[in-house]
Symmetry: C2
Subunit: 342 residues, 2 copies
């Protein structure tokens, strides 16, 4: 990239000599921004230049890393004015050993078996089991929104667990209410402010960083349509439709569609009311088009995964629905690893 | 296929002898059903065995074909109890010449330039221009829902135009109303009952049939979300939102999403009220899962184009949203041809 002509040259020379060069802090920061800009699934890429990067490659001990994760959440949360931020810890060692954060995101809600039923977020059933078997004690009174501890697997595969403090400067949550439906707030729903992904590998300049965490702010639909609405997640549409007085015996009266809109409306309303930044899916789509124009103006193509970019509700109202994207994956980038699943 | 062991064998032998075998009427019918079953974009494939096939390969004259298209619409419409039907006309000649229907669908609404604005369905602007330059006279008082003539290009590229009769047994239309909004019906919206695609090539057993027409019934979202809702089609969401009293200055209050639901509701309601078959997107998704199970039970994989199968509204409420499909295209099949665009 133009900004760092040295970097690519140094890499090429190093590769020819079978060496791995060390990135400067500035180079690492730039690589992280490129990794974001390259991600074909992310609709929030307009802001890639604004990513703040914490170079914490010197941190290798689980308890030090946990302290740094708390700092990450505090800086990212910013009392609601959420900032895009990445923290990068110790990289993969030469012998292939590595330390990793097991949680998919830093803030995750537990899931408990309750006879045949589940209490909490079904996505985190395995993570909850692992937390408990690692020594974590669930709260005495279990709820649908208990925050799981951070689990870190060290270089020797030992699991360390750390509880997040109950401090809204660190773990900010928004209780959900609806401007027109008083009963909504009595459903006792909530969601956390910062989506901080902690289980993807940053692959930059020939090196892998399995221990890193990055966050932006939420799109409303991620919380409402997917986390709270999906049948295999909190599955709240039937109860919301019932409270709205919609008959649910036939899908043809669009009860799912109507409950979906109100749930989305509640999330947007509640985050606004609590001064917590999140973007609606229409604005996110527009911002993505601005990103595309800017990239084109700089002579770059924008790759994309249509199935992830198009919002999960009102798809065809998004301008992205009517475009198509090449799914080319480039590096630097963020990648899944099979061993990252708990 | 098991049902016609002869067919494949005959084809193989014929191919070895550089001959093109003629399909029997039964074989042609079976090939058409397979072409439907193979289509990766069609959510309605559960019903593939029920396709009725009219073998009209002997028809080569434009006026005979037009008469047959009228019959097709009458049989398909079936007074509202719409039947999946395909009519197959003369095939591509050995010298590469062919006859084709120019219209994308048999029933299409005209589009007129009105200063800077457009009246009608913008998708059919070029088709309308072509119809007029071929000698068609638009009605004296132009409306947003004027039915275009059928344009047939003969083997010598001459264009013939034929007006469809104003007979609801042939061109059935449904005026749109909304059970809760009296103003809705005063928008004077309507849509036709039968989606009869007439510009795709049936490719079966080594032969191409550019002149054919097939139809199922509509999914509600095709009419409401796409045809009436798309910004580059009738673009009705702003006017519906305005009538609903929703402020449209910010997308964040979900006015597009709300107007979208009511438009879909109106389409489902009006078709039901007029006894015209159409399926809602939730039931269509469920039926597609049934199709998938049945195919698996018979040892076949189901290919699919996720971006077309997942409905254009409330995407993540469809079980198809949470699955993935291989996009393998197989023959017999229906294909686009570059020359099919007017
Ligand atoms: C600034 C606000 C941001 C918004 C609104 C945003 C939005 C989104 C959304 C909606 C998704 C799809 C998530 C899903 O459906 O599960 C996504 C995926 C993704 N985003 Fe962003 N994002 C933002 C910031 C960031 C940042 C700061 C990074 C990294 C530095 C990032 C990297 C990614 C990656 C790697 C994925 C794919 C995750 C996967 O494959 O599972 N995003 N983003
Ligand atoms: C029986 C009810 C049927 C339903 C509910 C149905 C539904 C659909 C829908 C929703 C689409 C996507 C259309 C779009 O977004 O533009 C589609 C595409 C398609 N369907 Fe069906 N369909 C039915 C019957 C049929 C029949 C009878 C055939 C052929 C024999 C067929 C062949 C196709 C083909 C070829 C496409 C792709 C069109 C293209 O690529 O532009 N369908 N169908």
């Amino acid at each position: 990239p133009a900004d760092f002509p040295d970097w690519h040259q140094r890499l090429t020379v190093a590769a020819a000599q079978s060496q791995i060069p060390t990135l400067s802090t500035d180079e690492l920061a730039y690589a992280a921004k490129l990794a974001w800009r390259n991600n074909i699934r992310c609709i929030g890429r307009l802001h890639w230049r604004a990513l703040q990067v914490r170079d914490l490659r010197h941190l290798t001990a689980p308890d030090e890393i946990f302290e740094a994760l708390i700092d990450h959440l505090r800086v990212a949360t910013n009392n609601g004015a959420i900032q895009p931020l990445i923290s990068i810890f110790t990289r993969e060692e030469k012998n292939g050993n590595f330390l990793r954060i097991i949680n998919h995101q830093l803030i995750r809600y537990a899931c408990y078996r309750n006879g045949q039923a589940l209490l909490g977020d079904p996505q985190n059933l395995a993570l909850t089991d692992l937390a408990i078997s690692s020594g974590w004690q669930p709260p005495f009174t279990r709820s649908a929104f208990d925050i799981l501890p951070i689990l870190i697997a060290d270089h020797h595969h030992r699991i360390h667990h750390f509880s997040l403090p109950r401090d809204p400067a660190i773990v900010l949550e928004v209780p959900l209410s609806h401007p027109d439906y008083p009963w909504f707030e009595r459903l006792n729903l909530r969601w956390h402010a910062v989506p901080a992904i902690s289980d993807m590998v940053l692959d930059a300049a020939g090196l892998k960083y399995p221990a890193n965490v990055f966050n932006g702010w939420y799109v409303g639909t991620e919380i409402a349509a997917r986390n709270l609405g999906d049948v295999h997640r909190y599955n709240l549409l039937p109860i919301i439709a019932e409270k709205m007085g919609l008959p649910t015996h036939s899908d043809r009266n669009l009860w799912k569609d109507r409950a979906m809109i109100e749930l989305n409306h509640a999330v947007l309303h509640s985050f606004d009311q609590h001064g917590v930044r999140l973007v609606d899916h229409h604005s996110a789509s527009k911002q993505f088009l601005t990103f595309t124009s800017k990239e084109h103006a700089e002579g770059r193509e924008v790759n994309g995964d249509w199935t992830w970019l198009v919002p999960p509700i009102s798809g065809s109202t998004s301008p992205l629905f009517h475009r198509s994207y090449a799914e080319t994956v480039e590096k630097p980038g963020f990648f899944y690893c099979p061993w990252q699943k708990p």
